[in-house]
Subunit: 122 residues, 2 copies
DNA sequence: CAGAGATATCGACAGACATCGAAGCAGTGG
DNA sequence: CCACTGCTTCGATGTCTGTCGATATCTCTG
């Protein structure tokens, strides 16, 4: 169709910029603001279905997978879509439409940021 | 107090034993069982208040702190207690009474397990 | 033992969340 | 232009969770 309507394609991206976000949790008390940011990320992974979707994507070559490849996790397709959206909104995944299919990709720097935060050693 | 007295003492262990739990998320699809275990841990950190309590403890010397030292997070005392219990039930903290006070300690191996799971590289 | 301080548990409630079916939107192909 | 497939959005619903005040438990002290 004519112009690209606002959907999926032109979402607030969050592509893959380096997001340091938060220091290791041993580095001192988390600010209220940081704790809210981090909590949102952990919340995104705090569901078995999302965790399985995420692991399916992360373990695909290139950390990328089509929805059609991963949607067999025991819940309805709308529910899968809902969970993928949550993961995307948390910045852990990005999505991209290619023809008929939509591909979701892991955002490595964001995930690395979470891991870094859990680095004890202090 | 008829039943339901599952208090602190007779919890299903989870004390501090090394819990490898789960492989890195890139290592293949998570099993349903593993995804539930991990989701429970992430859920424990998926709240701003818990995250701040946890960071306060983790950043204390020895990764240990008295409740009285950390309970100033903007919610009531019962709520603090509730959150600490959640963290303990998830295996992220252990608790120990010393005289009048109760000390909570970070369970390093469990936290390390979560961090390891978020290790991309595949 | 009584009293006081530190934590934990209980019971209630409002808001958040996972889930579903139905409907909508976007490409593909006849 | 229409049917078809893949995915998202919508609206409803039951369950879970964070929060509080009240109260119970534990421990030290007088």
């Amino acid at each position: 169709m004519s112009k690209s309507s606002s959907s999926l394609a032109d979402l607030p991206v969050l592509q893959d910029e380096p997001v340091p976000c938060c220091p290791p949790i041993t580095a001192g008390e988390l600010s209220v603001e940081d704790s809210e940011k981090m909590a949102a990320m952990f919340k995104a992974l705090a569901d078995p279905v999302r965790l399985r979707l995420f692991s399916k994507i992360a373990s695909h070559p290139g950390g990328e997978a089509c929805v059609c490849d991963i949607q067999d996790v025991g819940v309805s397709q709308p529910t899968v879509s809902h969970h993928l959206r949550k993961l995307r909104e948390a910045g852990l995944l990005t999505s991209q439409r290619r023809g008929t299919w939509v591909y979701y990709t892991v955002a490595p720097s964001v995930v690395a940021g979470m891991a870094a935060m859990l680095d004890l050693r202090g």
